[in-house]
Subunit: 331 residues, 2 copies
């Protein structure tokens, strides 16, 4: 591998001049530049990123920390983030935190030793104070925790309202909600949206809300129990698509016809939802866009460019498919 010294020797200039040509800063005579460029071409020289990182204290890398890359929501996100970072000449480091604070901290400290430039956190194990103390650019994805940290999220409460409203319009008389983990703000917001719509209904009872932990099997179990208690339920709003799929399976296993006797709406809009039968009706977040946006924000932050918006709250869209009796239906 050729070094900057080889180039400087071949071009008959000093390394400083080569560096100036490389970084396009400082004054360099046009003719000199040409000589340098020729030498670079001839030697097939590519600057060494590590040496550069050492002085610049930047590795042109950023990390994406997710609870579990296996989760469709996060891998669609990862796809988008990676796309952007590649475009801007950064590399993406992948970290699975398993939602364990210790893991997450360990990752962060290890990566800071590598002069990582910033983090996209799609987790909620760290407190705002801890994040602030990291002293490194951070963007929160899908989990708002502090007004001082830039975030990208969707309008969860409004999305939930849309879902429940839709179920009501479709003729549902008793709608249950499988919510996500208690400590997650997004799960709360979606639950709140559900309550906004049905909290005052005469049929409403608090035990129509069950916790499915954003997990397929938990959700399926929860639905079985719920339907034992409330056989009259004819609509389910799930806090995410994975739980909606769990609900779907549970309902199908009970021999209840979907969408004829039971309608289900999920939340997220993961690709997976289109792969089951019937296809999941869902409140689709622009997952890919959220990833793109978060990555672009982080890069702006890193490069000290101004952020026009600190908190993105993206619009969601109701995608009517087979688990509800919509008009534009294709069961």
């Amino acid at each position: 591998m050729a070094t900057i010294k080889d180039v400087s020797r071949l071009a008959g200039v000093s390394v400083a001049t080569v560096s100036r040509v490389l970084n396009q800063n400082g004054y360099v005579h046009e003719d000199t530049e040409k000589k340098v460029l020729n030498a670079i071409r001839e030697l097939n020289y590519i600057p060494n990123d590590v040496a550069r990182s050492l002085t610049k204290k930047s590795a042109k890398m950023l990390a994406l920390i997710v609870p579990d890359i296996t989760n469709p929501f996060f891998n669609e996100l990862a796809r988008a983030v990676e796309k952007v970072t590649q475009l801007y000449g950064y590399a993406t480091i992948l970290c699975n935190s398993d939602d364990t604070p210790a893991n997450e901290k360990q990752y962060i400290h290890a990566l800071k030793q590598k002069y990582i430039d910033g983090f996209i956190l799609a987790t909620n194990t760290l407190s705002p104070e801890e994040i602030q103390q990291l002293d490194v650019p951070v963007v929160m994805l899908d989990r708002t925790i502090s007004s001082t940290i830039p975030t990208v999220a969707s309008d969860n409460r409004e999305g939930a309202r849309m879902a429940v409203q839709f179920l009501l319009n479709q003729g549902c008389r008793t709608i249950a909600h499988i919510r996500g983990p208690l400590e997650l703000s997004i799960a709360d917001e979606r639950c709140q949206g559900y309550l906004d719509e049905v909290g005052q209904a005469d049929w409403f009872q608090p035990d129509l809300i069950v916790n499915g932990d954003f997990n397929l099997h938990h959700a399926a179990d929860a639905i079985h129990e719920l339907l034992d208690r409330h056989p009259d339920i004819d609509g389910i709003f799930a806090g995410n698509d994975i739980m909606a799929m769990g609900a779907l399976r549970a309902v199908q296993k009970r021999g209840v016809a979907v969408p004829d006797a039971m309608q289900i709406v999920g939340y997220d809009g993961i690709t997976l939802g289109g792969m089951v039968y019937p296809e999941l009706t869902t409140v689709a977040q622009p997952i890919y866009e959220m990833g793109l946006l978060a990555a672009r924000m982080l890069i702006k932050l890193i490069e000290k460019k101004p952020l026009d918006v600190m908190h993105y709250k993206l619009d969601v869209e109701l995608v009517q498919r087979g688990t509800t009796r919509g008009s534009a239906n294709q069961p």
Copy 2:
């Protein structure tokens, strides 16, 4: 951030001694070591990875190149790889190649500038010669292309045979095969396994094999066409689970009962297969183990430890679930 100089000053020794303590090489007096260790603790010193990389020409990072992290097979793999790398103190860089050779090469060259230590390739866009020329440790995952490059794969042909045999045992009279892309060796091997079992059958016709491109929608379309041509088909062996899910959907849409009138077996054993209804019967590869193995192999390669096995061909297992009429069935 404290540097090695700060430590040496506080401990009253030279940086060389500190370095020796850090790396546990060379002679260091017990007492001196204690002084150094104390200084390290006091200053909360952590060595700078970038500086270290510069001399060691190793960044303690490896890259996982997959066609698309969104694909369940690859993200389960990624999960495993990341687990191992973290355990051994490496970081994992994630790359989506989109199956484009240009992308892949660009990634590789960019990362070599960062002193990346090795690559796990779950793609097949590069020729063995190109890989050899990279002059960096590589492990191929799921795609065997050369005897000189270490690989981890499953016994595709045998797995396919198991699947088809099982369908025959279950009473299928006419079994179709949706195969993967023509240029992929694993798709060929699975197709070959199918042919091993039914190629000589009196009912066999070459056009019972269709290409589904490892893609859900292509597979669904292909199945529709196929069933129009061959209404007598009562069993489908799909080259992977995604296509099996596409087939399942297509069949369900036609109102054909699964598994009563049509049995389906997939290949891969992705978690997703257990999320649809009925659950997919499949030939399960030990995906997670494959990822673990590949990562461990690569790290051995990097650390110049001997490999006991160059080519792993892992056993697969038939997982009987709802899309076939097995005994241990739970439709």
